[in-house]
Amino acid sequence: MLALCSSIACAQSEVQARLIHVLQAQQTQATYDVSSQTRLSEVIQALTDVTSQDWRTARFGSRQLQFRLQRLKLETQQRLTALQHYAEQEGDEGLALTAKQLQRQLQNSRFLAAYYLGVPWHGMRLRQANNPALNDSYGSDEFYLSLYSTETSKSVELFGALNSPISRVLQPAGSNNDIKQVVAAHKPQQAANQGYVWQININGGVVKQPIAYFNQGKLAQCYSHQVHDPLRLGKPTDCSAPQQLSGGQRLYVGIDESQLPQSLQGINERMVRLLKFHVPHEQPLPEWSH
């Protein structure tokens, strides 16, 4: 363990200890003690070569935030179970199958909650408010900073009511990576909402894209990532979004909720709130994240 405090000259007696886990691309982890007054930029400057980072893929989160995300995951799984029971009672095999598939996707996926999805390195040094100290209102005593490589940015991952939800390697730049064609190629299931796909960007921004033959070209709904309340989706705004996919994005094809009872609606938004924090299997996680 490296006592980072000594390198940034903080008075150990005045501050609480913080553990910061730095997750590296080479499957390595390192843990450091730092002062709670320490700013994120100081940690970054002390521990990494700032010129060689891809800040879009960097993440910063806390242990307590991760606990809240795990609770959200548990609640979503319970809702999916309720949805599956409802579908079985109604004799809707397609819906039951999709609910089961979504549960399996959640079980097999790893999530790591983050305040920052992409660290705004170049802006954070200009103003204190954009350069947070290692503190959150949940009293977290452990934080992590992930500085992965950019390997994931060459592919998109697909989730939801698809017959073959897998990672898909994108065509080379300049080729056709049309979102509609990618979704169609993976065959939406019977219970899928075929009118829209949720597109989750690497920076946590979410776009509900109209992709069907009847609504293509219409405005999408955009949800921007909220650093101060990252697990919420927030209020959407009408927006124009590109139809071409780019690396690191996740696509989620939701359930058609229009015929579901009120109590079972909202599954898609919950899934998207979780998928914002999806972490590929090859990337390391802090021990407490499981």
């Binding site: 007054q37 700013r39 910063f60 806390s62 935030l65 305040y115 103003r127 204190q128 408010a129 954009n130 350069n131 947070p132 100290a133 290692l134 503190n135 959150d136 209102s137 949940y138 909402n193 075929q194 009118g195 069907a212 033959y213 009847f214 609504n215 293509q216 070209g217 219409k218 405005l219 650093v227 101060h228 309340d229 990252p230 009408d238 124009s240 058609d256 229009s258």
Partner: protein, 722 residues
């Protein structure tokens, strides 16, 4: 065909438009127009989303406003279409029947052609899904003379760049009767459509709806590869053999063909060949009330760096309150009356009101940041008490610790929004407060300002557009903190209200109702300058939920008197009730300050409600006695868009019969309230109102007065002030 084209090009409208096209680049580039707009519904010839003559089931984005003009040989149509909610389209339209005079008596309406007012609504029943079409039901010209009224049920389904529509119409839309009316199969009363209209027109002719002939209509709109251009083909369900124009309209074909071209993001043109023999041309201008924004020139917000660099006083008594009040006004738009400290010295309260920022949260954010940098660290809570007329009506709490965390970034999940909460006022907290600074009331001099003012009305029999351009001098004088005198003097610069013909010499040809509003021309003829109002208002808070006012003076141009109002308005509940009673005496139109003999007691019980199922909307209901001594109810509906624009409609129905009331049957109208800060880079909470009243008559008329309690206490429910 050649003669048709010649006729088309010789019309004045075409000349005008062609002249316009020479200045607008005809080859509109697709890249000038956002992609999404290419897939938005286009307007019909009569306004509203649809094909040419026929509507579709489509709805625009909420807030979409189109002002349209269409022209052919028999009719000119002008109006506006507004998408009030995602599921509700509303249209106001004037049909100018070019072949008929407004009134056969030339002295009454001169050579003005007949104008038929129409109001349409379309409601979405089902939104389009993968397999199911969009489904809507609509009423055309449902509160008019019935000459163009019709009903329809319509479905639309898009397939890539083709948008197909199939519907069934009744009334004006179904006169060809190409299909049996399905309702007639159920009950005989639907087989025949009663003719004419009730009373003096303007009523809801619901006993006609979905009756009589029915017809199928439909068509397709194709978004061509030449992107700003779309092509429309429709089958028209109307039969034009018995038209309001009184001239034979020959229908060689039920098929109509049109081209729609987006000239620009905000302008469209449509050219069509209809009925197999007629060219139609139209254009519309669009905007969206939810999207309108304006860049703002604002002082920078205080930051964490300001917190660290400012030396804050150690004790509250060391605060320079005069300087603090000035900073709050300059940076936060907050006008402060006094600053107090709680008994435990942990809460600082600022009494005052927001006087600049329409967005209350913006003003609080800025003001709270000022306090954070100017008051001691020991103060943990800031309270902003809304204190109009020295009445605490609402308060805003700011968690100083959380605010500073957000400003400094010392808690990653802290932001200013989380530090601010809104609440009812806590009167008990005032009792043990220490006053740190207070601005003494100074009776001073009245404030003065002069502003241009346009009064206008559309569609009158005398002239389609009647207006008055004035320079109005406004004055406000506070005699005490809760006694305010408002005055307004008007100077007419130009106008044509003197053409108003409803001028009856008193005693002769006595109308059925007292003339409370129709002496317009007499007032206009009297003088080019006059005192519009001069009213003193006393306002008092009885408890935090109860308010009362008393007032007197010249309320408005036509009435003066005295009155009182009481209101119960629980904080944040979305509703309130009130009552007002007034003695009103009619002002003279022969002298500046005198009165006529007519007087009355008028007043209403009022209810206010923000329905939770209709976001950003308010319903106001007034029941009681109106100015002409008629009894009845006025209902107002207001809806606020994201830009702050409020659109409203009202209707008053009293015990006056349609015959006694006259043309229009009852009082109704529409209005738009525009925040002025949408037109300038500086912030202001002022608004400009634009009204549309089809006809001014005497029934269902309310007194106009200054400083109603609903407005005074608006911050308790934040509709107009947010």
């Amino acid at each position: 065909m050649e003669s048709l084209m010649a006729k088309f090009y010789s019309s004045n409208v075409v000349k005008l438009v062609l002249a316009g096209l020479t200045t607008i680049p005809l080859g509109a580039h697709a890249q000038d127009i956002p992609d999404w707009l290419q897939y938005e519904p286009t307007q019909t010839d009569v306004g509203g989303a649809g094909l040419l003559q026929m509507p579709s089931a489509r709805h625009n984005r909420a807030g979409e406003l189109s002002v349209f003009y269409y022209d052919n040989e028999e009719y000119r149509r002008v109006g506006l279409s507004l998408q009030l909610f995602p599921w509700l389209e509303t249209i106001i339209r004037y049909n100018d029947v070019r072949t008929r005079l407004y009134n056969p008596i030339e002295e009454f309406s001169g050579n003005q052609t007949y104008k038929d007012r129409g109001v349409d609504v379309k409601v979405r029943l089902h939104e389009e899904t993968f397999y199911w079409p969009e489904l809507s039901v609509g009423l055309r010209d449902f509160a008019g003379t019935g000459q163009f009224s019709g009903e329809y049920l319509v479905a639309s389904k898009r397939w890539h760049n083709f948008d197909f529509t199939l519907g069934m119409g009744w009334g004006y839309l179904g006169r060809s009767g190409n299909i049996d009316n399905p309702f007639c199969e159920i009950t005989d009363s639907y087989c025949q459509r009663p003719g004419g209209f009730q009373g003096q027109g303007g009523s809801f002719e619901y006993d006609e709806w979905f009756k009589g002939n029915a017809a199928l209509f439909g068509g397709v709109e194709w978004q061509t590869p030449w992107e700003p251009l779309s092509l429309k083909v429709e089958y028209d369900g109307n039969d034009y053999s018995d038209e309001s124009s009184g001239t034979p309209i020959i229908q060689d074909s039920h098929w109509n063909l049109g081209l729609h071209y987006r000239l620009h993001e905000y302008a469209n043109v449509q050219l069509s060949f209809e009925r197999g023999n007629t060219l139609m041309f139209g254009f519309n201008i669009r905007t969206n009330f939810n999207d309108i924004k304006q860049y703002k020139q604002r002082p920078p917000k205080r930051t964490g760096e300001d917190l660290d660099n400012n030396r804050q006083p150690q004790h509250a008594e060391q605060i320079n309150t005069a300087q603090l009040m000035r900073q709050l006004r300059v940076e936060g738009g907050y006008t402060s009356k006094k600053i107090t400290l709680s008994e435990d010295r942990k809460t600082l309260s600022v009494y005052g009101f927001q006087s600049r920022y329409r967005d209350d949260a913006e003003g609080v954010d800025r003001s709270a940041r000022v306090l954070a940098t100017q008051v001691p660290e020991s103060i943990k809570t800031y309270r902003f008490i809304d204190y109009p007329y020295a009445m605490p009506v609402a308060e805003t709490h700011v968690d100083a610790g959380l605010l500073k965390h957000a400003m400094r970034g010392t808690l990653i999940d802290a932001n200013v929004e989380k530090a601010i909460s809104y609440d009812d006022v806590d009167l008990s907290e005032q009792q043990n407060e220490t006053v740190l600074g207070e601005r003494d009331f100074d009776i001073g001099m009245p404030s003065f300002s002069v502003r241009p003012y346009v009064q206008q009305s559309f569609g009158g029999p005398e002239n389609f557009y009647m207006y008055e351009l004035r320079a109005d001098a406004y004055s406000t004088w506070a005699l005490s903190e809760n006694i305010i005198v408002d005055g307004r003097a008007a100077l007419r610069l130009m106008g044509n209200y003197d053409e108003f013909n409803f001028m009856v010499t008193p005693g002769e040809d006595e109308p059925p109702l007292p003339r409370v509003r129709t002496f317009v021309r007499s007032y206009v003829d009297f003088s080019d300058y006059w005192l519009e109002n001069l009213q003193a208002t006393y306002v008092k808070q009885l408890s935090k939920d109860w308010y009362v006012s008393a007032y007197g003076g010249y309320f408005e141009r036509m009435f003066g008197g005295v009155g009182s109002e009481i209101m119960y308005r629980p904080y944040g509940s979305g509703w309130g009730v009130g009552m007002d009673i007034n003695y009103a005496k009619q002002r003279s139109f022969n002298s500046h300050f005198g009165f006529r003999d007519y007087d009355t007691i008028t007043g209403h019980v009022a209810g206010y409600w923000k329905p939770p199922m209709l976001q950003d909307s308010m319903i106001r209901v007034f029941a009681g006695r109106f100015l002409a001594k008629d009894w009845g109810v006025q209902v107002n509906f207001d809806h606020k868009f994201d830009s702050g624009v409020i659109v409203g409609a009202y209707a008053a129905k009293t015990n006056v019969s349609a015959e006694e009331y006259g043309e229009g049957s009852f009082t109704k109208g529409f209005y738009i309230s525009m925040p002025l800060d949408l037109f300038q880079i500086r912030d202001t909470d002022a608004r400009a109102n634009l009204g549309w009243t089809p006809l001014t008559r005497d029934g269902g008329q309310m007194l106009i007065r200054q400083r109603t309690l609903h407005g005074v206490t608006d911050v308790r429910d934040g509709f107009y002030s947010n």
